[in-house]
């Protein structure tokens, strides 16, 4: 009765260096709570304070991205394999545009494009995470 979880390098400090750990749970949320009971702090790196899956990680159940399976509500079964990978993303945006936005909050409203606003949010979150 176990679900195999593959841990990326950057989070292995929470698992004593282990690349693969096992856990249980009917949903991804339950599984992360179970893992956190043995690997304290791991859940906090994957789930935001508002209780959603962090933008900086990708989580897969077998071959599917959990964002398409209900995210933290994704259903799990015995024998499933969960893979965690740090998202690989970035870009020049933070450099010029974030500075402009910080000077002109009205610019945020002017930028209607969803993706741009999403990056701005991530940028602020990252600044907090980096401290």
């Amino acid at each position: 009765m176990a679900i195999e979880v593959r841990i990326p390098t950057i989070l292995r400090s929470y698992t004593g260096g282990a690349k693969v750990v096992e856990g249980t749970g009917d949903t991804l949320s339950d599984l992360l709570a179970d893992l956190d009971s043995r690997h304290g702090g791991l859940r906090g790196r994957l789930v935001t304070e508002t209780g959603t899956l962090h933008r900086f990680v990708n989580v897969y159940v077998n071959d599917e991205d959990v964002r398409f399976l209900g995210a933290l509500d994704a259903k799990l079964s015995d024998g499933d394999s969960v893979t965690i990978l740090p998202a690989v993303a970035g870009g020049a945006f933070g450099f010029a545009a974030a500075a402009a936005i910080s000077q002109h909050s009205a610019a945020v409203a002017a930028i209607s494009q969803h993706a741009v606003a999403a990056v701005a949010r991530d940028d602020r979150r990252g600044a907090v995470a980096a401290r």
């Binding site: 740090p86 998202a87 970035g90 020049a92 945006f93 450099f95 993706a115 990252g126 980096a130 401290r131």
Partner: protein, 162 residues
Amino acid sequence: MLSIDRSIIDAIVAHARRDHPDEACGVVAGPVGSDTPTRHIPMDNAARSMTFYEFDSMEHLRVWREMDDRDEEPVVIYHSHTATEAYPSRTDVSFAGEPGAHYLLVSTREPDSEEIRSFRIVDGVVAEEPVQVVEAGVDPHAVQSYMFGQSPATVDYECSGR
């Protein structure tokens, strides 16, 4: 220091130029623990943006599994900036989740000149490192002697001191 073959750098720059003005991104895999980039894997920029890049999550899983199966790891993770310098943005630093990788940045803002810089990004701290581009067919460890006028076997890009 990042030591990388000229042919791989050329392929990365060509990828960045091809996708310009959108940002391009990819990986160079190498044997685990070798710190030697050997297999260039251009990735799709799922964001298709001039100011943002993101690996497609399914391609990401496939490529990372493939590396795992081949006992490889991501030695280099690269992307381009298309209008600004080749230096990690705050967004780049926020996302940097592979502490063992060399983060290579290419700027395509100048159509005729190559701007390549490499960084380690660990716990939100950026450290630039020199890039040594090794010409094909030359053993970088061999002792080379040159007469005046011959071309060098390697090109070193020093840190700019930022």
